[in-house]
């Protein structure tokens, strides 16, 4: 299942699940992630699942590469385990004040604004991973005719709540942050809440997200 295990520095295992990015490979990563997390293996201090990799970091004071590698190689993974996922609707407003890169998207995709929104909304997107900044979900896949590259020059500040597009993925900026994704709209929903220590992320790997368009008026009244 893991194609290759190597070391990333002296305190982490780098587990490679293949070069492609698709749901099947990512689901394997998520299954490994859940299994290892549940086992609470001595010395492991962090797990970072991503599209097709899993990075396992460990405390070098307690264990070492060989020990953790052996444990991971001998791990039994239940292939048929069901990932506990949920389906979420995320309200998004695409008022001109929020869709910062609409003109660029129209030009690069050679589609009208109406068509872009029609392609983007009311479809199921799978959450591959969360991170970079706290709680940011990486969702996919966008339709083939909706795929664009990152901005040539990233923004120094992307507003909190922004919905970005790049290649086959969409993300949500949970905090104001630098970033280079094409901004299509903004959600009034809190995607990350640090006061909920048990589960601060609204969207977790394996979840399915559907974006629903809302008006500016509804956006403004959303949190009242």
């Amino acid at each position: 299942m893991i194609k290759n295990i190597s070391n990333l520095g002296d305190s982490a295992l780098y587990c490679d699940f293949g070069i492609e990015v698709n749901k099947q490979i990512n689901s394997k990563v998520i299954k490994y992630f859940h299994t290892i997390k549940k086992k609470e293996i001595k010395g492991i201090i962090n797990l970072t699942p991503s599209y097709n990799k899993l990075i396992i970091s460990y405390d070098l004071r307690v264990t070492n590469f060989k020990e953790i590698e052996d444990k991971i190689k001998n791990l039994e993974i239940n292939e048929t385990q069901k990932i506990n996922n949920k389906k979420l609707q995320i309200p998004v407003c695409c008022d001109a004040s929020f869709s910062l890169d609409m003109e660029r998207l129209e030009k690069k995709l050679n589609l009208s604004r109406v068509k872009i929104l029609e392609n983007f909304f009311n479809k199921e997107y799978f959450c591959y991973m969360t991170g970079f900044i706290a709680g940011m979900p990486f969702l996919g896949d966008l339709d083939n005719n909706m795929r664009v590259q990152r901005l040539e020059t990233p923004r120094v500040k992307v507003p909190k709540g922004s919905i970005g597009l790049t290649e086959q993925f969409s993300n949500i900026y949970t905090f104001e942050s630098p970033g280079g994704w094409n901004i299509i709209g903004n959600t009034p929903l809190e995607i990350f809440d640090s006061s909920k220590e048990k589960n601060p992320n609204l969207i977790n790997p394996g979840d399915v997200v559907i974006f629903k368009q809302i008006t500016l008026e509804k956006y403004k009244n959303y949190n009242e």
Binding site: G9, T48, A134, S194
Partner: protein, 315 residues
């Protein structure tokens, strides 16, 4: 309620509460954080007779000016720090790695770090601060941790919830060793770089950029040429990972790093050199030396033994 506190007369450049950091949160996008220089964090706590993992105040470059209100309390400062203590009728130049007693109205003025970046102030007691996921460490990026996840500000109060009964004065002779050569294990994308790029990486030096902070250390020097792809599929990052973006200038991930990144990884700093790496100040030179995994593991063990020895010397 409690009458012991510090008034922050001057907060300093980047002053935060830090401790051992947070585990098991990378998968939701929250980095480890914690004290940048772990050895100096531990020594600070030991010098004031605390449990080793208690919160301390971390500062960078220019530290805070604090006035103490309340009963007697011991403090210690670790790192390579220039500071003064203002008592009622006199002022003294402080020494690092030595406890001092503060009385009501005394001031600690942490003027600057000396050719280094981070320093630590501990108190013989406990700050009255919030913990999130078992750690007080402030992550200003996600506003996580104590002080609402924000660095300390001028004019604010720092409440002290507990002062230790035992207020013994302690001291240790210790000099922070400075290093220019940082040992690095080859990264998972080492082969993405040209022969010349790899050679430059290990043979030429770099200069630490002013744009370095708790998230990352940016380097300037010879451009490291990528011959495969300047982007990879986004994947996990760790403290010490050296990424090279399209512009060819390496960036070393530090304690508050983003948890996911899409730039190729040319190398990873060996754990043994991490505490000393973070203390290299902007404008200084830094050189990378290749090290094998097994050597890195052994050297880290020796470094840990050395740290434990230092701790046990403080009686």
């Amino acid at each position: 309620m409690n009458n012991n506190y510090f008034e922050v007369i001057r907060a300093g450049v980047n002053t935060t509460f830090q401790d051992k950091g947070r585990n098991n949160l990378y998968h939701i996008g929250i980095p480890f954080s914690g004290a940048m220089d772990n050895r100096n964090f531990l020594l600070a706590n030991k010098l004031v007779g605390n449990k080793l993992d208690l919160p301390v105040i971390e500062f960078a470059y220019q530290g805070p000016l604090l006035r103490f209100y309340g009963d007697k309390i011991n403090i210690a400062i670790t790192g390579d720090i220039i500071f003064k203590l203002k008592k009622k009728d006199h002022e003294i130049d402080g020494n690092c790695y030595e406890t001092y007693q503060l009385d009501h109205g005394d001031e600690i003025n942490i003027l600057s770090t000396n050719k280094s970046v981070y320093g630590y102030l501990s108190i013989s007691g406990e700050f009255d601060i919030k913990f999130q996921w078992g750690s007080c460490s402030i992550n200003t990026k996600a506003n996580i941790g104590s002080n609402d996840g924000k660095k300390l500000d001028n004019g604010q109060k720092i409440n002290i919830s507990k002062i230790n009964l035992n207020q013994e004065r302690k001291k240790i002779n210790y000099l922070n060793s400075k290093i220019e050569n940082i040992r690095v294990i080859k990264g998972t994308n080492y082969d993405y770089f040209s022969e010349e790029g790899k050679k430059f990486f290990f043979e030429k030096g770099f200069t630490v950029s002013k744009l370095s902070d708790r998230m990352g250390m940016r380097l300037e020097g010879p451009k490291i040429e990528n011959i495969v792809n300047t982007n990879i599929k986004s994947e996990g990052l760790l403290k010490g990972v050296i990424q090279v973006p399209a512009d060819g200038n390496p960036i070393i991930m530090l304690s508050d790093h983003g948890t996911i990144g899409g730039y190729p990884k040319i190398g990873v700093v060996a754990s043994v050199d991490y505490d000393r790496l973070v203390q290299i100040s902007p404008g200084s030179k830094i050189k990378f030396r290749e090290i094998e995994l097994s050597n890195a593991e052994t050297l880290f063990k020796l470094y840990e033994i050395e740290t434990q020895n230092l701790i046990s010397q403080i009686k």
